[in-house]
Symmetry: C2
Subunit: 340 residues, 2 copies
DNA sequence: GCCCGGTATCGAAGCGCTTCGACAACTCGC
DNA sequence: GCGAGTTGTCGAAGCGCTTCGATACCGGGC
């Protein structure tokens, strides 16, 4: 824990010169700068965090609030936490965790104690209680996800409507006229914000393109995932030549397994596209085309916006949608079975 | 962001009196204390974090390092992160996240910048690079998990050997003479520290009690978990009257499913015990007895030890093992099928 | 009535840094 | 060769708190 005066002494300059040399906020002669950097390296000097916060009016910390509800999907959630942390480090920011009941109370605490420069909100619910809180505290706040009432808030998210529309376009372009949609269990459509957006985008674009679309929202209970298997069977036997999946990874695997069990080949007999998945769809057997939800994209944008706000820049209080991207892995083809 | 002098002015006292009243470090007359507390509440006053760190030589922050490797099991991992955060809040401590490559570099950074009062180490590997680091930095460090080389370190973990021994005892007491062990995939026995400990404890106690024990470490690939199903089938057809499971939740569910498919009832035909699971085994169909790995137990102890070290107390540099606990849910019975 | 010990409060120092303003020492144009 | 501007460095103020030592006050013992 070397201190700035030790560095200054070692380099034969005053402490303010050290500070300016290391922060680059004033010009320093190349020679002096070199001596200072060397001394700092030698002493493994890093500015004391508390002193820096106090004097610099910057904590270099973002609070990350994540209630972690019972229905939170752990792997996806972890991916977002990780992506946020990595994005923040690019700006030399650290992440402070606010979990559970502290997810809300902690926001207030962090705001009034000046522990963080901003707040990143994860695991956003449609009727999230942190919405009101965000409006009240005087700290830059960015939502990763879109609550129902987002008036005046800065939100970041994948454009889910556009994502599923992209999947429909791909299938329609290939000539499919009847597609099946396998979604999350029905309860997800109340507790989470994005499943309805995927569904809406899908059905709207399907209607536009004159494609028939059947939606099934199977429960995901039990190791056999019987409801998912039944959904897949009903859809393909009902004439769907393509499947759009928006469900968890196990359900993906089970759906593919069921297609194989039914003797339907992918993509010759049935095309398959995954929408809004956070996991790697290319490692399924067979690999599956997808329009993924990329945690790093959302989190990087969120952090960038938060940084701009911290720096006093203007950030529109709006939903910042991320354009979806289609990733082909060979699981789509024109309809028509044996002839394809 | 009210400041201490505003509270002092509102209560008609000096700022040092406010500080003492709120920290309780010197006696203050009941009347004065009341006025101060009232003023603080009214102004929503909280000491500025940076100032507190600087003046108080306490950051009230623990760094949590978690590399989050590719093979990390997300749900279990999240449970530990959450438990750590909750345990820390009991002492008014916050958790700062150090992920990925920052898991190590961040430890150094946090130590030399005085950003945290201590470090909690998660996701511990047998040959963890954070072991050396922990020895070098001058910050209280507690490992949640046990690396191979733990000389001079403070570690906390479930006593896995005792846990599986407890399961064997239960089954042996009931009269079982042949048990099957379904473990994690083989690679887990190199990358993680505890699977070998479970296995060791199980086999040792089985030998002591004169119980035959067959171990299978099935791969867990594919939605069908065929290797797990095969393992269960082979074990029960090979004469095992009880199964000890130490694997992920899906494999648990699949194992039970397979038993049902084989027409074996639990517990009449086969007894089942889960060892070292972080998930709820009582919600399986049927509910399963377990000797669980309780994240909150490990994390609470880790935080308590870290606090003691921060407070200058003596904490033995040793592995602090947590005694396992048997939780019965009706999945064990004496062997003997129809007669049971 | 005086001294003593305890209790309640205050003022001021200092934690380690950032940043402002000052000021030498130069450079340049004319 | 002199004033104006530029560049590199320094001293000191101050960020908001904790904590030390001092002080004022009070009641009790003699």
């Amino acid at each position: 824990m070397a201190k700035i005066h030790e560095v200054a002494a070692a380099a034969g300059v005053s402490i303010s010169t050290v500070s300016y040399a290391l922060s680059g906020k004033r010009s320093i002669s190349p020679d002096t700068r070199r001596r200072i950097e060397e001394a700092a390296r030698e002493l493994d000097y890093r500015p004391n965090a508390g002193a820096r916060m106090l004097a610099g009016r910057r904590t270099q910390i973002f609070a990350l609030t994540e209630p972690f509800r019972a229905d939170t999907h752990a792997p996806a959630h972890m991916a977002f936490v990780l992506a946020t942390s990595i994005a923040a480090r690019r700006y030399e920011y650290d992440i402070l965790l606010l979990t559970e009941e502290e997810a809300s109370a902690g926001m207030r605490r962090v705001a009034s104690s000046g522990l963080a420069d901003g707040v990143l909100v994860l695991d956003v619910a449609p009727d999230d209680e942190r919405v009101d809180l965000a409006r009240r505290i005087a700290l830059p706040t960015v939502f990763i996800g879109v609550p129902d009432d987002h008036e005046g808030l800065v939100c970041v998210d994948l454009d889910f409507e556009a994502a599923s529309a992209l999947a429909v376009d791909r299938l329609a372009d290939l000539g499919h006229r009847s597609i099946g949609f396998v979604g999350h269990p029905p309860t997800s459509y109340e507790k989470s914000n994005f499943p309805p957006r995927v569904r809406r985008g899908l059905e709207a674009r399907a209607a536009e393109r004159g494609v028939a679309c059947t939606t099934v929202l199977p429960e995901s209970d039990g190791p056999r995932r019987a409801p998912v298997r039944a959904a897949v069977r009903d859809l393909v036997e009902g004439g769907a030549t393509a499947l759009v999946l928006h469900c968890d990874d196990t359900s993906h695997a089970v759906a593919l397994d069921e297609l194989a069990a039914l003797g339907r080949r992918v993509p010759q007999d049935v095309s398959v596209v995954s929408v809004g998945a956070t996991f790697e769809t290319s490692s399924f057997q067979p690999p599956i085309d997808s329009v993924p939800l990329v945690p790093s994209a959302s989190c990087e944008l969120a952090v960038e916006l938060a940084m701009r706000m911290v720096d006093g820049g203007e950030v529109p209080a709006a939903v910042h949608l991320i354009a979806p991207e289609y990733r082909a892995h060979g699981s789509t083809a024109p309809p028509g079975g044996a002839s394809g």
